[in-house]
């Protein structure tokens, strides 16, 4: 293989790629033309997703380095209550003398944690149920799992969440994560079921059977890797939903009241009639940062969607 002219540099091309300008004698060449773009390239190719990734990165940094960034301890109630913005309290203080800016900064931790874990758990549930159900399509097992999925899908989630949270003895972040997870998986499970139904009759699945693979291995090692983009999209979607749900629950007064989150900030500020007292920032800033985070994550999902749906590419 002679390579006498410099190949056009291509991102992601490895040294083995034989796309030399003179393709002579490359009788058995292995080309990279058919290789799909790497997932990060695809996501990054969307302007929206780029914006989303950058914003999310900022939030993550703020959450990780909250102790360094936040001017105060968010639970320290030793400041003068109801103070306006100042050097010590950038956004003023709450009625119980806590620093609003610090609460806002620390609040990102709860939102991101809930998003991460509730998104993960919900995605795992959805994936396992969706994959098994779809792979077993037409059997009793599928009927059963589809039934459970459909029931979970039609039951109005919010009343269910409210009842579940009201039932629980202790309200902590893990409860919220758990409740959100178990009420939010059904839609994704259904999508995955549909997807695996379209994949399970592919020849490579039959081929795997002929390789002597067991069912679990076929489902999770052979088929699932072909659904990564769908799984990723459903994870990002679930995480976004979970962040919103956590805020919603907390704002209803059903959150973990011992931790600082944007939802609890909203709840506290409203319960204290913050607007009536002129504490604008206390009410509107948490809602705004929340919406920005969720928008950013939705933007990222625009990018992820491109993976599973090449038709959507070439935009942004």
């Amino acid at each position: 293989m002679t390579t006498d002219t410099t190949p056009t540099p291509t991102p992601g091309e490895d040294f083995m790629a034989e796309g030399s300008p003179r393709q002579e004698l490359a009788v058995e060449q292995v080309s990279d033309t058919a290789r799909p773009d790497q997932w990060w390239q695809v996501i990054w190719s969307s302007k929206k997703a780029r914006v989303g990734v950058v914003i999310l990165a900022v939030y993550v940094l703020v959450a990780v380095f909250a102790p360094l960034i936040a001017p105060q301890d968010p639970l320290d109630s030793s400041f003068e209550p109801l103070a306006g913005p100042s050097a010590a309290n950038w956004l003023g203080t709450t009625t119980s003398g806590q620093d609003i800016a610090s609460q806002l900064i620390y609040g990102s931790r709860i939102s991101l944690l809930v998003g991460l874990f509730a998104g993960l758990i919900s995605t795992v549930i959805a994936t396992v149920i969706g994959l098994i159900s779809g792979y077993a399509e037409g059997t009793i097992l599928d009927d059963l799992l589809s039934f459970v999925t459909n029931v979970a899908l039609v039951i109005p989630a919010l009343p269910l969440i409210i009842t579940l949270v009201a039932y629980s003895e202790v309200r902590g972040i893990w409860l919220i994560v758990g409740v959100i997870s178990i009420t939010s998986w059904a839609g994704a499970a259904r999508a995955k079921r549909a997807q695996i139904i379209s994949l399970r009759n592919r020849d490579f699945v039959t081929a795997a059977k002929f390789s002597g693979e067991g069912t679990w291995r076929i489902v999770f090692r052979e088929i699932m890797p072909n659904m990564t983009s769908l799984v990723a999209a459903s994870f990002v979607g679930a995480a976004t939903g979970a962040i919103g749900a956590e805020a919603g629950l907390a704002a209803l007064g059903l959150g973990d009241s011992q931790s600082v989150s944007w939802g609890t900030m909203l709840y506290q500020s409203n319960a204290q009639g913050a607007i009536a007292q002129g504490l604008w920032l206390w009410v509107f800033v948490p809602g705004l940062v929340l919406a920005i985070l969720m928008t950013a994550m939705t933007f990222i999902n625009f990018g992820v969607d491109l993976l599973s749906n090449p038709h959507l590419r070439e935009d942004a």
């Binding site: 003179r22 009788v27 592919r202 002929f210 052979e222 990564t228």
Partner: protein, 617 residues
């Protein structure tokens, strides 16, 4: 005067995330009124892109990057969409490749005629209906199907409807883009007959795009051969058959042979077409060309007039200039590349080895329960044959003939409803019927499968090494270095060498032929006694089919494995098999040693299948 005049047309795809690609490069040709022109090329050659460009239907990121298209005196290259609209369908219409998708699934067929007719003519109401009825009759479809939805029509009917739709406004030019691909040979034939008849009657011009030179040859007045985005040869059909100029054309022609002959040779073009997104020096076919000379590597041959046609080949030009006596020798008619030869003697030595699996009077009835009615479909009835060690049995028939059902029963996926299948394995005879779990898995260490579509039968998310290692790990318990060594061996065995270049590749990085080799290697991994090969070549480009056949042939000889070769194509059956079983509607209509069946077919159906083999000679 030409109806359609294409000059230096180039089409460029510019995806944001990857390299731009010139799918069509400076193509020039013309089509006269009423002329029937074939456009041949393998997948990826740019023929469909060219067709789409002619229709001005290119979508981003593709665009016409140069040249011009003149239709009936009007330059339509940059004609505004509004002006173009007047021309569309009234003058230029089309039939697309995928008959499944080119009709709007939610609108009745009649409506899809009506909107086009009303858009471009003054016909309204009942007159339109009459016209549609007329069109239906023209393509020999009962007009009662006018009110059907597309999904209610069979594939063949749908394509006839598409044809009728294309003719609705009596256009001057119709682009047929692989209109019969995916249809049964018999149906294919009747549709093409139809096209030819209508063209003769109505005198429209046709550009017929196909990957299969056989289908186009007898229809076309003139043939364009396309390779890597360029036209490499342009000759009248007769001249092309008589004296193909470009080696690639020779390769295409060489893919066919007459199965009745004593010795059948079919050639194949090794390798794969170049990556059009990379710059190219020299002739784009040079890498695969057996007649290549040094000049081919340095200079891109222009498409020049030659022998009344045109060709883009240095060698052909030099040979003609030299009159056949020069350093480049005589022009050769055949393709000088690798070939797969089967003699009659080889075929005659068949049917002597041990039987490894016998199918005894097998029938299969499917029952579908819908409400209170039960529909019984007899997919297979009373089929008997043997599979022998080191021999190939071909199961020939169209889709729906029951071949796949038989394959499923033989691989243990389904049970016969009557008769029995006996596997004469190392542990004694074993009746094959609806194995489950462990038993099925064990049985599959003896029976393996090669699939029709090499594109979907390799897991796109896994490296080849992994794909090949799984059966070894599962059935032979190999691990670590031993496993890896065996994987390499397998790759070498199917000539994917050097193996270490392939072992970490993904399936989609390979060409179709290479992929099919991987599948074969995988089937070989467990050293099975039987391989069921379900149409292993039908989705491959014509030019490389023989390559896979040859490999299978070698395997039979060397590994002493019995192959059940399922196909609709008697030529490949002749090349590969020792015994042929012709299935029609689930019944065996003819069965016997391959040569006997092909040379002296007793059944009409067998004859129809034989006729369907394109015979350019």
């Amino acid at each position: 005067m030409t109806l359609l005049d294409v000059r230096d047309l180039s089409v460029r795809y510019e995806p944001k995330a990857s390299r731009p690609l010139d799918a069509v490069q400076e193509v020039s040709f013309g089509i006269g009124p009423g002329e029937f022109v074939g456009l041949i090329g393998e997948s990826g050659s740019g023929k469909t892109t060219l067709g789409t460009a002619l229709l001005r239907l290119l979508q981003r990121p593709g665009r016409i990057s140069g040249g011009s298209i003149t239709f009936d005196g009007t330059d339509i290259t940059d004609l505004p969409e509004d002006d173009l609209r007047a021309l569309r369908w009234r003058d230029i219409s089309t039939v697309f490749q995928s008959s499944m998708n080119s009709l709007n699934p939610v609108v009745r067929v009649e409506g899809q005629f009506r909107d086009a007719i009303e858009q471009h003519s003054s016909l309204r109401g009942e007159a339109v209906t009459r016209r549609i009825r007329e069109l239906f009759e023209m393509v020999i479809i009962d007009p009662k199907f006018m009110t059907a939805f597309p999904h209610e029509l069979s594939g063949g009917m749908r394509q006839r409807v598409n044809l009728a739709l294309a003719l609705a406004l009596e256009p001057k030019f119709i682009l047929l883009d692989e209109p019969t691909t995916g249809l049964d040979v018999v149906v294919q034939h009747s549709i093409l007959e139809n096209v030819r008849r209508l063209q003769a009657e109505q005198g429209f011009a046709v550009l017929f795009i196909s990957h299969d030179i056989g289908t186009v040859l007898d229809l076309s007045d003139r043939i364009l051969v396309m390779y890597a985005g360029r036209i490499v040869e342009d000759q009248s059909a007769g001249a092309l058959l008589r004296e193909p100029l470009h080696p690639y054309t020779k390769g295409l022609l060489g893919s066919y042979g007459d199965p009745r002959q004593e010795t059948v040779k079919i050639t194949y073009v090794p390798g794969r077409p170049p990556d059009l997104s990379l710059p190219m020096v020299g002739c784009s076919f040079a890498a695969r060309c057996p007649e290549r000379i040094d000049l081919c590597l340095e200079q891109d041959p222009p498409l020049v007039p030659l022998q009344g046609g045109r060709a883009a080949c240095h060698v052909a030009v030099l040979q003609r200039e030299e009159g056949g006596a020069g350093p480049h020798g005589e022009p050769k008619r055949g393709f000088e590349g690798p070939q797969f030869v089967k003699t009659a003697d080889e075929s005659r030595s068949a049917l002597t080895n041990d039987v490894v699996l016998s199918v005894e009077g097998v029938g299969k009835v499917f029952e579908r329960r819908r409400g209170f009615t039960v529909t019984r479909t007899e997919a297979v009835s009373d089929v008997s044959f043997d599979l022998r060690r080191g021999e190939v049995t071909a199961l020939v028939g169209q889709s729906g003939s029951g071949k796949s059902t038989l394959a499923r029963m033989i691989t243990g996926v389904e049970s016969p409803t009557s008769g029995r299948i006996v596997f004469h394995g190392p542990d004694g005879d074993q009746q094959v019927s609806g194995f489950r779990g462990r038993a099925l898995r064990d049985y599959r260490s003896d029976v393996q499968m090669v699939f029709q579509d090499p594109y979907s039968s390799i897991n796109p998310a896994k490296r080849l090494g992994y794909v090949l290692s799984r059966p070894l790990a599962n059935y032979q318990g190999l691990k670590g270095a031993a496993l890896r060594e065996r994987v390499m061996e397998l790759l070498e065995r199917v000539a994917l060498t050097p193996a270490d270049r392939f072992v970490n590749r993904y399936g989609y990085e390979l060409s179709g032929g290479q992929r099919q080799r991987v599948i074969i290697a995988k089937a070989l991994a467990v050293e099975p006694r039987i391989i069921v090969a379900d149409e292993p070549i039908s989705s491959l480009d014509v030019s490389i089919r023989a390559e896979v056949l040859e490999l299978l042939n070698d395997l039979v000889k060397e590994n002493d494995v019995g192959i059940l070769y399922i196909t609709h194509d008697l030529l490949s059956a002749r090349m590969l098999s020792d015994e042929v079983i012709v299935l029609n509607n689930g019944r065996v209509v003819e069965q016997g040693p391959t040569l006997d069946v092909i040379r002296a077919p007793k059944d009409d159906y067998t004859r129809t299948l034989l006729d369907a083999i394109p015979n350019p000679f």
